[in-house]
Symmetry: C2
Subunit: 765 residues, 2 copies
């Protein structure tokens, strides 16, 4: 086993101090002289025709410089949500931007936006899945759904899903996909026990502290634009802008500003609109969404309905799985239901299955990616049913899962083999945890204990990185991956390890799209896995270049050299050393005889490195009020290799708290007319420090085959099983299974009013 010198040490985030002291400059903090502030004018209706617009009063508002409507913008095909720009004659969700007011101050823009008069002809809106699927339902896209690939789903590894069946008939079903294996009817016929439930999950918002913020400034020298965006995906934003504006990619400089929370919600949304506005006015324009706009008109996680039916023999063998997954896409196709079904049929070994996914359009904002898209919903349904099955069979719920958990090489839903992963290992880690071993004591105090397990495939994407040695002997790594949750600190550790320097001698520079080596979006638990691999490759190559120069100068063979404490030295010849700084200086001066140390890495790893988390929740349920309190939450996770345990624990905490939100608190409410009921954080309930329990973390390391030093993506797995674990704990505590997220006090009270369904599976252990 290699001894590591940089990775594996708990390392505070490089930008942590700047973030907590307020020194970090976010997109909205960048002063741009001559800036125009933009404000959206939101549609008042979920579905309406726009009969007339009167902008005179808005234009007369002091400070207002312009009011743009669809007619001021090019008529681009709305083949992505961000190309809807401004509503063109018709609105399809309440809050959809119908006009953009540009003013010399935020306040003036707000005043002007309130003066835009729009005459609507309201139309009936299908707001729920049932309404959208009903005979004669109003159609979101009566003339056909605009075609276009959705980048966000693929970003999260969703491209493994079965090919979507084309749903081209005039309906609100944008896509449907079925995946099967074996003989489901025979499987159920062979079953002794069948559990069947229908689950629903709410539309949930990513709720970053920093709202979507975009600024664009025309560059008179090139005819292009500089765009500052709080985005996880600067290269995707550049592509979208290049296509919408018809500009070469190189004439667009997309600068990804520090992201104040992304969680999948910031792959690009209002950049084309803001860029077109900046072009129209030939001035810098910035749109920084208000919290209301953020909740009204971005791209939250979709609501889902999952019917799951599971059969097993009395000996515990699973015989069949049947499921139907409906995903409320909102107004624009997300095309992800097939992937949800794919996940559902992949985690446990079931010989016969049939899962059907259906994407349904409704008159609501379009759904988008949110940390492990769909997986919390899928696992909530699947692991609730597994838990109930164990209970019905009288099996230990942990051993039951362990028995059926997929292992590396087992077939995924599409028949491909599972790559190396640690689903079993995280369950074993939980089995060994005091919270599980001593669960009887918790129960004795009236608490319920539940577990669940789930994971994420991990995305892949080509990535590149560059690495140079500065004159002061420091290593500079240049990447295009936005920092989220400490990825940059991880890159510094990787480069340090690969080159042979302490991490504090490494500087990681995140370039803009004009100069940075390509990397995909920061998301999909793939950044450390892919960009990290490119960084390691670049740092190793830079080391080789450095040693080649040193070998020449020291008259030694490169393979006899080592780098220790900033010195290159000949093994066994302690006197023969060179400072890294001195080597670099020889490459960066007039008449220098050695080429600069400048190396790159470029990778296209296509093998996935799934990450799994098993979690245990210990809950108290107030039998009178229905209030659920999570008293203990154990998060075990396979991270492959813990590059920075401190950052990983942060991810495990953050994921589990967001899972807690899914479980108990968060939902975007809409009334019958499609009006948002939860337009503030007073109405939309996020778990805060008062709600979050003490979280215990267990890091499991099952090294991945291809990740840097065995690392796997760690961002998404920890959010996946939390809701299921809490639901199973509530079942354990109350004898009632809750099937709708969030499990609000009202829902718990309603469940408590029903008869007990039997002791929880956990109690039978």
């Amino acid at each position: 086993m290699t001894e590591f010198t940089a990775i594996g040490r708990p390392t505070p985030l490089i930008d942590g101090r700047a973030r907590v002291t307020g020194a970090t400059r976010f997109a909205a903090d960048r002063p741009l002289p001559g800036l125009l502030h933009a404000r959206l004018v939101p549609s008042l209706y979920a579905h309406a025709r726009i009969e007339a617009m009167d902008t005179a009063a808005a234009l007369a508002t002091p400070g207002v410089v312009a009011v743009l409507t669809a007619s001021d913008l090019p008529a681009v095909v709305p083949s992505s949500r961000s190309r809807l720009l401004l509503a063109r004659g018709r609105v399809i969700f309440a809050g959809q931007p119908v006009a953009l007011v540009l003013a010399t101050s935020e306040a003036a823009a707000q005043d002007g936006a309130q003066q835009v008069r729009v005459q609507y002809d309201p139309q009936p809106a299908a707001v729920t899945l049932d309404e959208a699927l009903a005979e004669g339902a109003p159609l979101v896209w009566p003339d056909g759904v605009p075609s276009g690939e959705n980048v966000s789903a693929g970003a999260h590894g969703a491209d493994q899903g079965a090919a979507a069946e084309a749903g081209k008939q005039a309906s609100n079903v944008s896509s449907a996909a079925t995946q099967t294996r074996g003989d489901v009817a025979a499987g159920f016929a062979a079953a002794d026990v069948i559990v069947e439930r229908v689950f629903t999950t709410a539309m949930v918002h990513q709720s970053s502290l920093e709202t979507h913020t975009v600024a664009a400034q025309p560059d008179p020298a090139t005819g292009g634009l500089t765009v500052w965006s709080s985005t996880q995906a600067p290269f995707d934003v550049r592509q979208e802008l290049a296509e919408v504006l018809g500009l070469p990619e190189a004439d667009l400089r997309v600068i990804a500003t520090p992201v104040g929370g992304g969680f999948g919600g910031k792959f690009g949304l209002y950049e084309p609109l803001v860029a077109l506005a900046a072009r129209a006015l030939n001035r810098p324009v910035r749109l920084s969404l208000t919290r209301l706009e953020e909740l009204l008109a971005t791209n939250p996680a979709p609501a889902t309905r999952l019917r799951v039916r599971l059969g097993a023999r009395r000996d515990g063998e699973l015989t069949a799985l049947e499921a139907e997954v409906q995903v409320d896409n909102g107004c624009y196709p997300f095309d992800i239901a097939g992937f949800f079904g794919y996940m559902l049929a992949s985690f446990y070994r079931v010989p016969n299955f049939s899962v059907r996914g259906q994407d349904v359009l409704t008159f609501k904002p379009s759904a988008g990616a949110y940390r492990a898209p769909g997986a919390p919903c899928v696992i909530f349904a699947l692991d609730s049913v597994m838990d109930e099955m164990a209970q019905r069979l009288g099996a230990d719920p942990l051993e039951f899962r362990l028995r059926h958990a997929a292992r590396p090489g087992d077939p995924l839903a599409d028949g491909d083999p599972w790559p190396g992963m640690g689903m079993a290992e995280v369950l074993e880690a939980l089995r060994d945890h005091p919270a599980w071993r001593e669960r009887a004591q918790a129960r004795a105090r009236g608490r319920g204990v539940g577990i669940a397990v789930g994971g994420w495939m991990g995305g892949t994407e080509p990535a590149a990185a560059a690495c140079a040695l500065d004159r002061d002997g420091r290593l500079v790594v240049h990447i295009g991956s936005v920092d989220l949750t400490g990825t940059t600190t991880g890159f510094a550790l990787l480069a340090a390890e690969a080159f042979g320097l302490p991490a504090e001698k490494v500087r990681v520079i995140i370039g803009d799209t004009a100069t940075a080596p390509y990397s995909g979006a920061t998301g999909g638990s793939k950044v450390t896995y892919t960009t990290g691999a490119a960084v390691v490759q670049a740092a190793r190559a830079a080391r080789e270049q450095t040693l080649a120069i040193a070998a020449d100068l020291l008259e030694a063979a490169a393979e006899d050299l080592e780098i220790v404490d900033g010195l290159v030295r000949v093994r066994g010849a302690p006197g023969k050393t060179l400072k890294l700084a001195d080597i670099a200086r020889k490459t960066m001066r007039f008449g220098g005889q050695y080429a600069p140390v400048y190396a790159h890495g470029r990778v296209a790893e296509t093998a996935h490195a799934p990450g799994f988390s098993a979690q245990l929740a210990e809950v108290e349920v107030d039998q009178e009020t229905g209030v659920v309190q999570v008293r203990r939450l154990v998060v075990a996770q396979d991270v492959g290799r813990a590059l920075n345990p401190l950052a990983i624990e942060g991810q495990m905490h953050g994921g589990a708290v967001q899972g807690l939100g899914w479980a108990l608190y968060e939902q975007m409410g809409y009334d019958a007319q499609g009006q948002l009921l939860t337009g503030t954080w007073q109405d939309y309930m996020l778990p805060g420090s008062m709600e979050a329990p003490a979280i215990e973390t267990v890091i499991v390391e099952v090294p991945s085959e291809h990740g840097p030093f065995g690392a796997r993506g760690v961002g998404e797995a920890p959010v996946v099983p939390t809701a299921a674990a809490i639901a199973n704990a509530i079942a354990d505590a109350t004898g009632r299974r809750l099937t709708d997220l969030p499990m609000t006090p009202a829902r718990v009270c309603a469940a408590l009013a029903r008869p007990r369904e039997g002791v929880s599976s956990g109690r039978s252990a």
Copy 2:
């Protein structure tokens, strides 16, 4: 011979339109919110002790925020001119900054600067070479000259000079160097004809349209600084800043803004002072010099005095050369006289020589690099003497030069062999030119015709470049070399040629020091030669990467592929093609199977590629007023390979016009107390379009061994022989040799008052 598709075509400069329409944003055009404007408080004396300073009135000026003096700054060792910062107790040239006023507007800063009261104790100042060298002269650095390498000289290839002899005794001689070959005394004893003259050249200012401009902004997130500078040398500026500020290089982001003229004068000067001011106030600070400050307190070309003695036999063989070169360094060591001597002894084949160089300190602003530093002075002296020798021997002046001109392999002054170069070829090109062949007609009209030849070694420096393929099939080249005179357009042509694309599909991005691959300063005629070579290497590697992907996709061997019209196709199989854009897209998307096309080049070419220019001037001399008018100017130049003939012709024009300034107009005048007499462009005479003659260019191509496609640096050679050619033309016209630059009407009149020295050599042909 290869057929080129991109290089060799006259190509308008990529940034030309932006420059002429005013779209280019220079350093002073960048708005920085919260900016403080800086104004220098110049010393009133060339040499004085500062007894007291009173800043109260300045601080009371409306808009003034701070007044910094030396005591507010760290006491750094002044081991470079830019580290003089603010005068510390003593001033050593008139105009030296003694304080820096920071205010909210330029006007307020100016007002404040005029309110700073400084009490001086004036001291005697040595202003001229003779005063500085006199017994008991006041010493510029009485406690010893601060040590430090001067980067500008090396930038221009000056590092070939002989090692300077240490001049450590208490004197104003900062360095002295002698180079010899053979037996000079015997050489002169064998001579039948000896020509000896003393030449002087004036202190000349680079006189860029854009003055030195620097802005610095502290970065609260890193503790570092972002610095915008109109500099030719961002990486040198970064190094200087890192050393002065004690910061890691990576925490300094030096952004080289478009340079509005450099000519060697912008290698870095006020960046440390401005950066320290920004740090002291924790606000952005900008200093944009006024024209007066520019002329008072930057780093013009040094004044020189050259005594040259040349001996020859009657048969025309040169027997000996003896020379003494004194360079007026101003207040700070430039250490370049040895290099001047090295040049002087290298151009012609002389078996015996002794050249001595002496750098002399005076109480004037420090001298610095200006287009081919020293070469115009050296060739003015050397080619005047050669011309006179030809005349005295009755030889054809062109054939005489051709006979003695160094050829590749001949020894340089230090004994190293001349690399491949075209000194003879440019003379031959001139010989074939109508202006030379038909010189009799010109003379018949009373004009004089003179020629001269000179060149520049060409610098070398390690350089790197990166190259990527965008999703739209365009190639992006990322470099760290500032654009001067179209170098960027040249890189686009080189990359296009190497990759196989039209130049308009290439984008060249000049990055800042945080992200760009290292390149040295743009200067020394080395950028195309070095960075260009790295660009070619990177583009070729990117092509190979692209073809490897295409080979896989097309199921063909990479060596069977070609790139034509943005398509990769299999030779002989016209149907099998792939668009470059489609290849790139496969490397830049989720789940992509191919690594991004991302390549680098890194070179450390140490062989030089000298560039030579031979010029012919046809002049009219007004016998009454002494006014010289150049009626015709022919510039023949060896460029190795003409990558962009349009840009090269621009260089030849620009160099020759600056040579015209050296010859006839430009001089920085100082009075006996060291006060600048030429503080405006009314007093300092630059040639304009009225003075410039029609210039005829002849491009000669003697391919260099190592340059990209045979290219040589072209920036410096055209300024070198102009003054000499004009002086020889004046001699031809008047029978008098002028030995002092500039050859003003007064000097011409004085010469005309002397008896004729004989017919010019030209007339004997």
